[in-house]
Amino acid sequence: QKEVEQDPGPLSVPEGAIVSLNCTYSNSAFQYFMWYRQYSRKGPELLMYTYSSGNKEDGRFTAQVDKSSKYISLFIRDSQPSDSATYLCAMSHPGAGGTSYGKLTFGQGTILTVHP
């Protein structure tokens, strides 16, 4: 079983829809939770990060962490064609790698297409 599971999709939605992307994880030591966005033929870039449980909002994007369920979500409101990309969840804990080397554990990524 992988430490982080993410449905690879693909997910196709009409413009304006609310999109929900999710990851589950098994390691209760994870404390930092991130979402990366990767456009085609580009490297991933950080979209949002959350420390521990709770919600965080940034414009049309909301990240949620439920540590009790080991479940994180990214919601995209009023989705746009420019949101079409692969979304990767990533997690870390302070002791990753035996010391704080900043190792991240990634989900498989979800391919999202928003069509006009």
């Binding site: 930092y32 033929r41 490297g43 991933p44 990060y49 990753a96 080397y101 900043g102 190792k103 989900g107």
Partner: protein, 115 residues
């Protein structure tokens, strides 16, 4: 503006060749990482380095080696390329893990094809 650059966007090599992938970051970051990305498998960590001349194996180090002679440069070496090493290779860097979330900054990737 932070920047991670990779020496090639596309590379085609033959089986058995020695392949060098170069990565340079201009953010004075201590940590550097090499991943490969394959459909359905996500990002898998090959090697990482937390200081000059230091390296640690990741999850899939077999068939690869790395070199870090200078802080800003981290090289991935395929000693004898094989077709199953055809993949997208991504380099990333980050400041020390104690300084925050461990956000990693990625380069644009090198798509390597081994024939």
């Amino acid at each position: 503006d932070v920047k991670v650059t990779q020496s090639s966007r596309y590379l085609v090599k033959r089986t058995g060749e020695k392949v060098f992938l170069e990565c340079v970051q201009d953010m004075d970051h201590e940590n550097m990482f090499w991943y490969r990305q394959d459909p359905g498998l996500g990002l898998r960590l090959i090697y990482f380095s937390y200081d000059v001349k230091m390296k640690e194996k990741g999850d899939i180090p077999e068939g690869y080696s790395v070199s870090r002679e200078k802080k800003e440069r981290f090289s991935l070496i395929l000693e004898s390329a094989s077709t199953n090493q055809t993949s997208m290779y991504l380099c990333a860097s980050s400041p020390p893990g104690t300084s925050g979330s461990g956000e990693q900054f990625f380069g644009p990737g090198t798509r390597l094809t081994v024939l």
